[in-house]
């Protein structure tokens, strides 16, 4: 039994379905991210758990107890909003103290300020804090009530890149330290992969895949997941017996099993899974093309390779130290032998 369970949640706004049967289970102390494009229902799911929104159908359980009908202020959920949620008339310390005061619990503000690294800023008002500092205070305020579950709705999306990375690592550290069951909503896949125990990828109000970051990345359950998480190539081909054909190139793979021969397919493959070698020129049945652009990304350099006999462009990552071997204009052969492929009918 999970610590937090969402079962068959449905919700629509004026006929438009925001959630179309969402099931999710979080173990105690686990951090699960809900990842998905804008409008897929992440916030709606979180707000139903928090009690700000009522589901049309389905239930929310904590430790096996159905809390679907419990009002928001009796749920003991710590909530961190996207931005501007601090009470403007209270200092950072007063914001943090607020929840414990309502519960008549002993004050722990100093300790919480230390926890989020703001020991010296307790007397400041929200408008005197930076965006990152405000979100730290918001986190401390949510944690102060010792919530059963921590809910974070894109808490980092209003911050700049550097602060965002720092704070997300910090959130993860604190969450692990406290063993806090956490539901983290984001549309930033890198963020989700970096901090989560498991990632749930959502689309159109339901989960497409729920698994550890590495499985979601390496074994995407669907084309949608593959394309939403990380960088992928989507190459048009045709299903043939025992594999797929891309132009003149035949690739033997089990990934195309079950697709009728002759059907158009998309071959989905990550840039870093493709091997590349200079092409001698003779036709040996390899997937060949020409380097048309290079972009330097730090440790790797991404080559754009236009496939021979068409205008499809495939992106291939090479260690930057080797990129000099493939200047623009080089004829190359691509090696998909070791690549994890996903083949889907178009």
């Amino acid at each position: 039994m999970g610590h937090l369970e969402l079962r068959g949640l449905r919700k629509s706004f004026g006929g438009q379905a925001a959630l179309a049967g969402l099931d999710l289970e979080l173990a105690r102390g686990e951090l699960v991210s809900l990842l998905g494009p804008s409008g897929c229902g992440k916030t709606t799911a979180l707000r139903i758990v928090a009690g700000f929104e009522t589901a049309d159908a389905g239930s929310v359980r904590v430790d096996g107890h159905d809390i679907t009908g419990v009002p928001a202020n009796k749920r003991d959920m710590g909530m961190v909003f996207q931005a501007y949620s601090l009470f403007p008339n209270m200092t950072a310390a007063q914001n943090i103290a607020f929840g414990r005061k309502l519960r008549k619990k002993a004050d722990r503000t100093g300790e919480l300020l230390e926890l989020v690294g703001l020991g010296h800023l307790g007397k400041r008002y929200p408008h005197q804090l930076s965006g990152g500092q405000q979100q730290r205070v918001a986190l401390a305020r949510a944690l102060a009530i010792e919530p059963r579950v921590l809910l974070l709705d894109e808490p980092l999306s209003a911050l700049d890149a550097k602060v965002r990375v720092n704070l997300r690592d910090e959130i993860r550290r604190i969450q692990t330290e406290l063993g806090m069951t956490t539901l983290f909503v984001t549309h930033d896949q890198e963020e989700a992969l970096a901090v989560s125990d498991r990632v749930g990828v959502m689309s159109h109000g339901r989960l497409e895949q729920l698994d550890t970051p590495s499985v979601v990345y390496r074994q995407p359950a669907s084309a949608f997941v593959a394309q939403f998480v990380g960088v992928t190539n989507t190459v048009l081909g045709t299903a043939v017996a025992g594999g797929v054909r891309i132009g003149a190139f035949r690739l033997a793979t089990a990934a195309a099993e079950g697709i009728a021969d002759g059907a158009d397919v998309h071959v989905i493959v990550r840039p870093e899974d493709i091997g590349v070698a200079q092409h001698s020129g003779q036709d040996n049945g390899a997937l060949v093309g020409t380097v048309v652009a290079q972009s330097f990304l730090g440790p790797v350099t991404r080559l754009s390779v236009r496939l021979a006999g068409g205008d499809q462009v495939v992106r291939v990552d090479q260690p930057s130290s080797r990129a000099g071997d493939f200047p623009v204009g080089t004829a190359v052969a691509l090696d998909l032998a070791a690549a994890r492929l996903l083949v889907v009918a178009v």
Binding site: D76, M79, Y84, S85, P88, F98
Partner: protein, 296 residues
């Protein structure tokens, strides 16, 4: 901000323009100088002048005695009372409007109606109340004929301070809606939700967050209402034709009536007094407004 490359005082170096940059604002400054600054200065300076233009404190001194002092006290009382009534009732109405949809009909009607009554009011409002609770007014008649109640049993109250209080409230409430509604809209839904997730209820929210956040805006608006009622003239002028119970009507008397020797500049001193009172209220209003803006 990036400073313009060319020296603004010397003007643009672009070919074809040989005139200095400040020339453009001259018509505006000249106009405002003649029709705003000059008349204002005339009042403020005239308040300290005798009939021959010499310096005197007599005019201003007269404000601290007798009918003038009473008029000021009455004006302050009327303005404070209607500002308080207007602020409380207006805040209530603002809340009822803000709780609905931002593009809903109730809101649209209330906002437009408030604009009319708050800023356009004046003489038509006086007649609106004559038609309602005047000697021949609808309510007066209905009460007299159906219920045997005489609204005027205790005198012609509509044409005295109680009447002014009623009619002023009628335009103070809408003004409150106009200035307070944006403040209510500035309350973020996250605050309410944050309070709920921390275990508080609606009362906790208003007591600890909503109320304190709105307080400066509320007080600021009340001061604005005070200044508004204090400055108002048209409604009172149309309603009260005998006597000059409040300052604006005394100024009317000074402008239109026969002026006693040695009191030529009493009107200006009364004007100065009004400006001082209004300026104090507006200054405090601006202070509070700034405080609220910081919180948004």
């Amino acid at each position: 901000m990036v400073a313009p490359v060319a020296n603004p005082a010397r003007g643009d170096a672009a070919p074809g323009r040989r005139w200095p940059a400040w020339l453009v604002v001259v018509p505006f400054l000249a106009y405002v100088g003649v029709f705003l600054v000059y008349p204002t200065a005339l009042v403020l300076i005239g308040a300290f002048q005798d009939a021959n233009g010499g310096f005197t404190l007599d005019n201003v001194g007269a404000l601290t005695r007798g009918v003038h002092l009473q008029a000021f006290l009455r004006s302050v009382e009327l303005s404070a009372l209607t500002a308080l009534l207007g602020a409380v009732l207006g805040a209530l109405l603002s809340w009822a409007v803000a709780a609905g949809r931002p593009d809903g009909l109730p809101r649209r009607v209330v906002v437009a109606g408030s604009g009319v009554l708050a800023q356009f009011g004046g003489v038509p409002l006086a007649f609106a109340f004559l038609a309602t609770v005047g000697f021949q007014g609808l309510v007066t008649q209905v009460l007299r004929e159906r219920f045997g109640v005489d609204l005027f049993a205790h005198g012609a109250w509509l044409f005295e301070l109680p009447g002014l209080t009623l009619v002023y409230t009628f335009f103070q409430v809408p003004l409150m809606v106009i200035v307070f509604l944006p403040a209510l809209d500035g309350l973020r839904p996250q605050w309410r939700e944050a309070v709920a997730s921390l275990g508080g209820n609606s009362w906790t929210y208003w007591r600890h967050v909503g109320g304190p956040v709105l307080l400066p805006a509320f007080l600021g608006a009340a001061l604005l209402l005070f200044a508004n009622a204090f400055s108002a003239y048209a409604t009172a002028a149309a309603l009260v034709s005998q006597g000059s119970p409040i300052v604006p009507l005394q100024i009317r008397g000074a402008l239109t009536g026969e002026v006693l020797l040695g009191q030529e500049n009493t009107g200006k001193a009364l004007g100065l007094g009004m400006v001082v009172v209004v300026a104090v209220a507006m200054g405090l209003h601006a202070l509070l407004q700034r405080r609220f803006a910081r919180w948004r």
